[in-house]
């Protein structure tokens, strides 16, 4: 649910990074934070456990610039990926405008990817959303590791609807901004459709 403020001429959109535990959602946000100019970003907030696993969410506000005189703000959130934080994940999806599904490319994490994607669909449906109708981008992360599944195979399993897919190595930043730009574009185009 975006928030359009004609008084302050601002538009706020919420983008959620979703995916299985340790797939690199927080790493995506950390890289974006590192590479964005100070005047374009707020604080990166991480509600994490002592072992740096996301407990509730990470949050990064970005104000990249203006479109038609409106300041465009994106609020990026991650969800906690670990299975037992299901209740928290549901809360964070409230009012979402766009989703980045971060998949872990390692062969042994394929089942976790599928499970997380199903979890996403169920949680969206509970709020009356359909993944197919929501601006969504898929990121195949960790492409630098030796035991990764072929892109074609991952796409066939995770992406039967042909959502744009980006290969990434979030640790080094490869594919991170490409993914963000794509989902941002979809969110803004969706606004164009409705207004």
């Amino acid at each position: 649910m975006s928030f359009i403020n004609y008084s302050s001429r601002e538009i706020n959109c919420k983008i959620v990074y979703y995916g299985p535990g340790l797939c690199g959602k927080t790493t995506n946000l950390q890289f974006i934070f590192k590479k964005t100019k100070p005047e374009q970003k707020g604080k990166l907030i991480s509600l994490a456990t002592e072992t740096e696993r996301t407990l509730f969410f990470d949050f990064l506000p970005l104000a990249l610039g203006d479109i038609k005189g409106f300041r465009v703000r994106f609020h990026l959130y991650t969800v906690p990926g670990q299975v037992f934080y299901a209740a928290s994940r549901k809360l964070i999806l409230k009012g979402v405008d766009g989703v980045v599904f971060v998949a872990d490319s390692q062969l042994e994490r394929m089942e976790a990817n599928i499970e997380s994607l199903d979890d996403l669909k169920i949680n969206l449906a509970e709020q009356g959303y359909e993944l197919e109708k929501l601006p969504c981008t898929i990121q195949l992360n960790k492409r630098d590791l030796p035991n990764v599944a072929p892109v074609k195979e991952m796409t066939a399993i995770l992406n039967p609807n042909n959502i744009p897919t980006f290969e990434a190595v979030a640790v080094g930043g490869a594919g991170v901004f490409e993914t963000l730009k794509d989902v941002a574009k979809r969110v803004l185009f969706e606004l164009r459709k409705h207004y």
Partner: protein, 163 residues
């Protein structure tokens, strides 16, 4: 699915006025009005020392988590949260199921006074937000929203954001 929140100048002024009134009557330090998804709508008082964007997001997370607990216990919602600090206290209330009112106050005020004033202000704010929703729905039906700046967003506009 919730509809988008659209705020026009006139409603914003009325909200601002309500917040200022509450700010004075409750002897508060700072006030915030936040939408349930964590976006700041308006504020009153000295906000300079506070990262308002982060505060808005964390407060919404707080309310969401409390709402989750409420449902587990069979309650519809816990509408008031109160945190007490050494010098500052924070009173958080959910208004009309849609927006969150945050009042930060110190020893110059009291929980009783804040609760009383928040209750009064809530009624006025609920009224304004009901009108905002009605107005947006009406304009959507009448097709008046076509003049929106987003009708003509181009690929280039978006590319420019990422330069």
């Amino acid at each position: 699915m919730e509809s988008n929140l659209i705020m026009y100048e006139e409603e914003f002024r009325r909200i601002d006025e309500e917040l200022r009134k509450l700010y004075q009557q409750a002897n508060a330090k700072v006030l915030f009005l936040i939408d349930k998804n964590g976006q700041l709508i308006a504020s009153a008082g000295d906000t300079h020392q506070i990262d308002t964007t982060a505060l808005a997001s964390l407060t919404a997370g707080n309310i969401a988590a409390t709402g989750g607990i409420a449902r587990l216990l069979g309650e519809r919602e816990f509408t008031v949260l109160f945190h007490e600090g050494d010098t500052d206290n924070i009173h958080i209330s959910l208004i009309g199921q849609r927006v969150i009112l945050v009042v930060i106050f110190d020893k110059r005020s009291s929980l009783g006074l804040v609760r009383l004033r928040v209750k009064k202000a809530s009624e006025a704010l609920v009224q304004i937000f009901t009108e905002i929703t009605t107005k947006a729905e009406k304009e959507k039906i009448e097709g008046r929203l076509e003049e929106s700046p987003f009708a003509e967003i181009s690929d280039e506009d978006i590319d420019n954001l990422f330069r």
